[in-house]
């Protein structure tokens, strides 16, 4: 038994190296912080749902509607006697998301047992998951009002009442507002359709960046481990070509793999949602997306392509530098873990939140991570925030140039063979050969 414990102790010592422990704690800390952050954001979303109400009827019934909405923990901004367009402009400025319009003669129609249509406007300030998590309000509030009216009708025991009217005295007519565009569509269907499409971009990107980084760092580490690097370095091939070939090969392989993943995921989700079976509905959403400018034109595709390409390139060049420190494939995997964490931060944050609504220091920190620009590119293009896209491209391009410069500097010097992560201070040697 003593021998077993000796062996066990030795195995633990081998496994619990700093290269394993540090990324583990970093990951735990990251998930802990993100969890906390998401929790507080969710609470904010729960607390701060404000519904603007434009009461054009100003009747006792519509007043009671307002009271019922308030009783259901919604903050109400009450407007009356104003054009709808003016109120829409105002709620957009206030950062509010919902407007319900009770038209004239609401009370009169309901007294006559006539179904009354109310207009429900949803303003999309961003396309992030948490920003639109409360879009269900557009169906919840009409449901609350219908329940209230139905219970009153049942209490009044009116026998000649139409069943359809009894169930839904109020029918919502939904509109989505994005920037200066308004279209008559259910916001939940727009959101679910948009996510089924745009969620793929960050997933695939995350896969491509992770794969490419590991491949390129592994490629250098394998050359070192198999003792083929010295031979390659002594050949008359320009070393910058070796760098380019490695980056391009890793990029190509990871792109092909990502496309295969994408096809798999897409067929999986279309199987679940059954999108293809509901082509009429899809066509309607497509038209709504077009009218909201939520489709990509040629220039948009070029910009998106540039962002994706630069994102992959910056990951490859950083991984190349990291890989140069690795002595073997095992250490290359451990060394690329921090890079994965850096990719994971914007991946999660941009998927869940609109980072433009964060506090300035946090926003600067997130935008300093080059991958943020890649992950936010699609949403920023949809929301026509072209300035952010262009700045992102310039910033990432500059980083790519710096990283590739350093990567080729390392490869054209002996540092590729002598560099390693250690605690001993070494004298710098700057000969280039």
């Amino acid at each position: 038994m003593k021998k077993f414990f000796m062996l066990f102790k030795k195995e633990l010592r081998e496994l619990l190296s700093p290269q394993v422990i540090v990324p583990f704690f970093a990951m735990t800390f990251l998930f802990f912080s993100i969890g906390k952050f998401i929790g507080s954001e969710t609470k904010n979303q729960e607390k701060e749902v404000t519904v603007a109400i434009l009461d054009l009827d100003e009747s006792q019934t519509t007043n009671s509607f307002v009271e019922i909405i308030k009783q259901n923990n919604y903050k109400v901004d009450y407007y009356k006697d104003a054009p709808t367009e003016e109120i829409i402009t105002q709620i957009k400025e206030n950062g509010e998301k919902f407007l319900i319009v009770f038209p004239e003669a609401t009370e009169e129609n309901l007294r006559k047992n006539k179904q009354q249509e109310i207009k429900v406007y949803s303003v999309f300030h961003s396309l992030s998951l948490f920003n639109n998590i409360d879009s269900g309000i557009t169906t919840q509030i009409p449901a609350i009002l219908n329940e209230y009216l139905s219970s009153q009708l049942i209490q009044a025991n009116v026998s000649s009442i139409d069943q359809i009217f009894l169930k839904n005295p109020i029918t919502p007519n939904n509109f989505v507002i994005l920037k200066d565009k308004i279209t008559n569509v259910d916001p939940t269907s727009i959101i679910s359709h948009l996510y089924s499409q745009t969620l793929f971009i960050p997933i695939v990107l995350f896969l491509v960046i992770s794969l490419a980084s590991q491949l390129v760092a592994g490629a250098i580490a394998t050359e070192k481990e198999n003792k083929t690097l010295e031979t390659l370095l002594s050949t008359p091939i320009n070393r910058k070509l070796i760098v380019a070939a490695k980056l391009l090969a890793a990029g190509t392989v990871s792109l092909v793999m990502a496309i295969l993943y994408l096809i798999g995921i897409q067929s999986y989700t279309s199987g679940i949602t059954g999108e293809s079976q509901n082509s009429v509905k899809t066509e309607g959403i497509k038209q709504a997306l077009e009218s909201l400018n939520l489709t990509l034109g040629f220039t948009d595709f070029v910009l998106l392509g540039a962002c994706l390409f630069l994102g992959i390139l910056v990951a490859l060049s950083i991984a190349f530098i990291i890989g140069s420190f690795a002595e073997d494939t095992k250490s290359s995997q451990a060394l690329t873990t921090p890079l994965m964490i850096v990719v994971l931060i914007p991946y999660l944050l941009t998927m869940l939140f609109d980072i433009n609504q964060f506090a300035v220091p946090l926003r600067i920190f997130i935008y300093a991570i080059p991958f943020t620009h890649t992950f936010t590119a699609a949403n920023n293009i949809f929301l026509q925030r072209y300035d952010l896209v262009i700045y992102g491209i310039i910033y990432v391009l500059a980083l790519v140039c710096i990283c590739i410069y350093f990567a080729s500097k390392i490869f054209t010097s002996e540092k590729i063979l002598t560099m390693e992560i250690g605690f001993k201070k070494k004298k710098k040697e700057n000969h280039t050969i």
Partner: protein, 245 residues
């Protein structure tokens, strides 16, 4: 006659550690020059510097008149380097590996085919060249790598411990190949801690200890000078003398 290699005041430091300390030697054309010494004496570092893989901290090196620091790309055209314990791309077939390496040195198919033909003769692996390298024994891999190193008929071949870890038959074969190569006009810089092998193989020997070259000469001259039966005895006498001082 132009020297194949001229090394002057060469030093190499890794931080505080001095791997090579102010060494000087020359190799004539068609000559086999061997650096001998114990492990960690500075042999491999010297060879790596000459092969343009590492850079010198101090000193100058000239390969067929080309300065190592300023004209490294020209030097890489005329040298070949076989590192100690070098590996090959294991998932490639032997023949594909040779073809790939030949393509890095040549620009036409004709040139490449010539290299391949020469390499196939040197490697002596016949139909096994069509197998993946990962199925090769150590001796077979070393033969393949030697063939790769010399297939372009470099002016200077730098061979680090060419027979290290090989059985007698494979070691004998590789020694014979090296000898034959010098006869067809190749200069060779090699390192070994196998003194008897060096005695058989080399025209000139440099004995290196703790980063310094402490003696240079032909094997015959050194044996005579130190009244020794072989190079092993020469080495033992020289190093014991330097250790005392």
């Amino acid at each position: 006659m132009q020297k194949a290699l001229s090394v002057k005041h060469l030093s190499k430091k890794y931080g505080e550690i001095i791997a090579v300390n102010n060494i000087e030697f020359e190799i004539n054309q068609n000559e086999i020059f061997a650096l001998i010494g114990s492990n960690g004496a500075g042999k491999s570092t010297t060879l790596k510097i000459v092969a343009t893989v590492l850079s010198p901290t101090e000193g100058t090196i000239s390969v067929f008149g080309n300065d190592l620091v300023k004209q490294s790309s020209q030097i890489r055209q005329i040298i070949a380097y076989l590192p100690e314990e070098a590996g090959a791309y294991k998932n490639m077939r032997g023949i594909d590996y040779l073809d790939f390496m030949a393509s890095l040195y040549t620009s036409t198919k004709e040139e490449r085919d010539k290299c391949l033909e020469f390499a196939e003769g040197i490697a002596d692996l016949r139909e096994r060249l069509n197998d993946k390298i990962k199925t090769y024994s150590k001796g077979m891999t070393r033969k393949l790598l030697l063939a790769r190193a010399v297939m372009t008929k470099p002016k200077l071949a730098i061979l680090d411990e060419p027979t290290s870890g090989l059985d007698v038959i494979n070691a004998l074969y590789i020694r014979k190949v090296i000898r034959d190569l010098s006869k067809i006009g190749m200069s060779v810089l090699l390192s070994s801690h196998n003194m008897l092998e060096i005695e058989f193989l080399s025209d000139k020997v440099g004995i290196i200890d703790k980063g310094r070259i402490i003696e240079i000469g032909t094997p015959v001259f050194l044996k005579k000078k130190y009244r020794a039966a072989n190079l092993e005895e020469v080495f033992a006498k020289i190093t014991s003398k330097t250790n005392k001082t």
